[in-house]
């Protein structure tokens, strides 16, 4: 784990959204402040927005259904946006998608902005449309997102169950960016969260520089596929990215 100093820190309340572009070599730490957080996240190549996070490729390349330490998050172009270099939780979901306006209204009732101001019941789908729109992205650019801190298990029958006890106060996950990446995020509730009231779990975001990736890096070597994923990413960084990015 990197010991570099945190150069930016921010608290994001529950039910909000944000976006930021991160250079390769940046570590993004997400901290679940009170427990029970959910962070919806999507990733794009800022120089070619058609390259985006691909959850099925990420899962099948690593023969996993959950995300945790050692996993790499792949684009549809066989490259790695970021690696999970540390994780105190052990299971993050990437197959359940987002809450949307209809789901939030059905489960928790709709709190309008007119009456509730910024305590309204924002949803994940609309959050991504707003943040993506700032970069020219629309609904056609959305894809299956990550839901950090959320766990959904699958029975032999295929039935899915939400685990409300997955993440506790102080839990965190560290993402090390392997290429320049546009990150869209929201803190709206996980779409299978059965809580009786609209959950508003805040998160803390910390940014720091990472140490250079070594040949014996844990994520790079966690699976043979990831060695090749790093090679694809390094080729792109060497040849294409600096010319476009600077």
């Amino acid at each position: 784990m990197s010991n570099e100093a945190v150069f930016h820190e921010a608290l994001i309340e529950g039910g909000k959204h944000w976006s930021l572009t991160l250079r390769s070599g940046t570590v993004l730490r997400l901290v679940d402040v009170n427990g029970g957080a959910n962070v919806g996240m999507l990733f794009y190549n800022p120089y070619n927005l058609l390259e985006r996070y691909n959850a099925p490729d990420t899962l099948k390349c690593q023969h996993t259904f959950k995300l945790t330490k050692g996993h790499c998050l792949y684009s549809d172009m066989g490259r790695i946006f970021c690696s999970v270099i540390d994780d105190s939780v052990g299971w993050h979901d990437t197959v359940c998608g987002n809450s949307n306006k209809a789901l939030v209204t059905r489960r928790w009732g709709q709190k309008t902005y007119q009456r509730w101001r910024n305590d309204w019941t924002q949803n994940g789908h609309d959050s991504f449309l707003v943040e993506g729109g700032k970069y020219g992205l629309g609904r056609r650019d959305l894809a299956a997102n990550v839901n950090w801190f959320s766990k959904v298990t699958v029975a032999d029958t295929g039935d899915m169950t939400f685990d409300a006890s997955n993440s506790r106060a102080g839990d965190f996950v560290d993402l090390r960016f392997e290429m320049d990446t546009l990150v869209l995020l929201h803190t709206c509730p996980h779409p299978l969260n059965p809580a009786p009231d609209y959950p508003r779990a805040p998160i803390r975001i910390q940014l720091r520089k990472s140490a250079p990736v070594q040949d014996d890096d844990y994520c790079r070597n966690s699976r043979p596929e990831n060695i090749r994923g790093f090679e694809n990413t390094e080729l792109y960084r060497q040849c294409a990215c600096p010319a476009l990015g600077d």
């Binding site: 490729d57 099948k60 359940c96 998608g97 029958t157």
Partner: protein, 216 residues
């Protein structure tokens, strides 16, 4: 669950064999039934669906799985769009269950999964790209190529959060049949994958059958 269709193949209005490595794209009207046949067994039919009236509203794996609270597709599965509309429903199936987690193969993901020198091998994503380029009256492009259904594939999820690529439950002549709930664009890649034992390294043909609409 398996449920055979009551429809007679001889009464189909359309029949077409799709060789491995090729694609099929066309509009299926509301109320029409379309069947995909795994002619020789353990083939994968990578399938995308779009609302014909509004192609930006398209098949969504996350909404489909979440709303049925189950990761596998089978009889009764409603194939939902990103806006929550039902595009089609699985009305007959002689296989039992189908995958929608594994996505399509691509030249780029093949380079990661198998070896860097596999990057020039043919893949489903290339077929999808060629299909939308050659049929540009649908106004589809790479933006619209999202996560798909893998009919006839078996990708079990374990209780510990693993993902396996198991031998298929399908076999020669098995099929899945859908009823279109609105006019939809159907895009199918008959998977050319040569690196995965799930098809015994031998991609084989699919057949499409379409019956007239039950909507007056």
């Amino acid at each position: 669950m398996q449920r055979p269709s009551e429809l007679d193949a001889d009464a189909a209005r359309y029949r077409k064999v799709i060789p491995a490595g090729e694609y099929w794209i066309d509009v299926v009207k509301m109320g029409e039934r379309f069947r995909i046949v795994d002619v020789e067994g353990n083939q994968a039919a990578d399938t995308l669906l779009f609302s014909a009236a509004d192609p930006g509203d398209r098949y969504s794996i996350v909404d489909t799985m979440r709303e049925q609270r189950n990761v596998y597709l089978g009889v009764g599965s409603k194939l939902l769009s990103t806006a929550g509309n039902t595009l089609a429903e699985i009305v007959a199936d002689t296989v039992g269950r189908h995958d929608t987690l594994g996505g399509a193969c691509a030249a780029e993901s093949n380079s990661v999964r198998y070896a860097l020198d596999k990057r020039t091998m043919h893949a489903c994503r290339d077929s999808f790209l060629l299909a939308v380029a050659k049929h540009d009256h649908f106004n589809l492009s790479k933006r619209d190529l999202t996560h798909n259904i893998n009919f006839f594939m078996n990708v079990p999820v374990t209780a510990e959060g693993g993902l396996e690529f198991a031998d298929g439950l399908s076999g020669p002549g098995k099929y899945v049949e859908l009823r279109a709930a609105m006019d939809i664009i159907v895009l199918i890649s008959n998977c050319p994958q040569l690196n995965n034992p799930c098809n015994a390294y031998n991609p084989t043909p699919l057949e499409i059958l379409i019956w007239d609409s039950d909507v007056p």
